[in-house]
Amino acid sequence: MIEFHQTSKVFESNGNKVEALKDINLTIKKGDIFGVIGFSGAGKSTLLRTVNLLEYPTSGEVIVEGRNLANLSQHEIREAKKDIGMIFQHFNLVHSKTVFHNVAMPLLLSGYNKKAVENRVYEILRFVGIEEKAENYPEQLSGGQKQRVGIARALVTNPSILLCDEPTSALDPETTKSILNLLKQVNEEYKITILIITHEMEVIKQICNRVAVMEDGQIIESGNVYDIFAHPKTDTTRKFVKSVVRDEVPISVYRLLKENSHFSRIFKIEFFGINSGQPIISKTAKVYPVEINVLFGNITELQGIPFGNLIVELIGDEYEIKRAIEFIMKQNVKVKEVFEDGSERGIDIERFVGNALHG
């Protein structure tokens, strides 16, 4: 478990003060895969580094497994770090040493000799799937293999926490997937709490169960991944969600629609959980005399729960369109009207239907 209590960090250089962290309060529970997402400069890297004291907080405290490391002696801090593994965006392997030697390093630092640690090193190399590369040098490996070495090195001391600093940002999408799967396996098999920093929402979507969004040194939103994706509260979060759950109609489609002279309106229907399984569209088309043209659809899965949106054009009589929308809204899905300029407006069902009936 990692707890941040009013953690702040101020960097000073040439008289300029930069507040990298402002009053962070956050709890990462045991067994979490906790993602912190933000644009560069948001302070997420600094946040991660206060956990193993690569950066000391200026004020407030960071409690790791019940202890505030900043209060310990240098010797005790070094011992405590053996319980916190860390992997990096650029892997940070020692180029002049073999894969075996790199992975053995944390144990060698504790005074063991190479022979004594052989079994443990090979066991962990087998776990990350690069046992046959043990005698190779880092330069002979691909990016994904290097990160596997990094993960093996971080796990060799059997830590209870793994810190990941943009672990997949230097990797291609395919390799990213396999590394994320490996991290998930680490979490499940070794019961290791993972704190992962990233600017890719895809990473959060794939493995995290909880997420915090950072901006300007602050946590602007946090919660479980499904809630954040389904109900983003801030613009920044919405931007991140949009990066993996696309919900915009291409401009060319709007142009095409404009050319058609018939009366139509465009709506975005958002599905969460069980609603995703219902044939809302076909039902609507059967009951009401409107034509439904699907412009865009996207469905994805978050922690096993389906989640997505559909952008549809309803063509027909204005009155019937309103009745059809009223019907759709009664199915417990979120509906918004979409306009040509890409803006969206929520629908107030009372007024909307009222107008339809009386106007």
């Binding site: 011992e79 020692v94 180029h95 090195r153």
Partner: protein, 216 residues
């Protein structure tokens, strides 16, 4: 008067003796000061403003004194260390003081080339500052350090030519006293050829060792 082969061989031996002994001690001093210059600088693993602001200018001072001046300027110190102020062994004292600070700058550069991320990884796994130096910094900079040592060695070969000023002997001394002062062009030619061969040889060995260290 013609120069005998024996004289040349003797001078060659003196040159090699001066180079190797001063390289050994100068190398140790250079590595020590070079590491000190890196780890005590701002933001590094043993940041120490006092040590850095003392060592840095001292290295600069030694680097800015021309060797021929240093040679005579520290004669009392040479006498203190070597027991005499003239001769081949006496020349080693100023040679060490010349090459040590020079090499320390090269070591400093080599160590600064090491990726900061590796130091960060070392810190994250709880390495002590000493462990960071000998398990991470030095191995990572090793091949670059070999090239630095090669450059320092060649610098030393050049510096020994001036050792004649305090009776140090060596090939340079032969070239000056026999070749220049007695107008023996052939002596100059022979000593220059030998020096060129030494320098080429040192560079070649250095390059090979560096390649081996990189395992390419």
């Amino acid at each position: 008067m013609e120069v005998s082969a024996e004289l040349i061989l003797n001078a060659l031996w003196e040159t090699l003796y001066m180079v190797s002994v001063s390289l050994f001690f100068g190398g140790l001093i250079g590595i020590f000061l070079g590491i000190l210059l890196v780890v005590t600088r701002k933001g590094h693993i043993l940041e120490n403003r006092l040590i850095y602001s003392v060592v840095n200018p001292i290295v600069n001072i030694f680097r800015s004194i021309p060797f021929i001046i240093l040679l005579v300027a520290i004669i009392p110190f040479t006498r203190l260390i070597a027991g005499t102020s003239i001769g081949t062994t006496a020349a080693i004292v100023p040679l060490v003081l010349h090459i040590g600070p020079y090499f320390s700058r090269l070591v400093e550069n080599s160590l600064l080339e090491v990726d900061e991320g590796i130091i960060e990884a070392a810190k994250a796994m709880g390495a002590t500052p000493l462990q960071i130096i000998y398990r991470f910094l030095m191995p990572e900079a090793f091949s670059s350090l070999i090239l630095s040592l090669t450059t320092a060695t060649i610098g030393l070969v050049g510096a020994t030519a001036m050792a004649g000023a305090i009776g140090g002997g060596g090939l340079g001394d032969v070239a000056i006293t026999y070749g220049y002062q007695r107008f023996s062009s052939i002596t100059i030619l022979v000593t220059v050829i030998i020096l060129v061969i030494i320098v080429q040889g040192v560079q070649e060995i250095g390059n090979r060792l560096e390649r081996k260290a990189r395992r390419m």
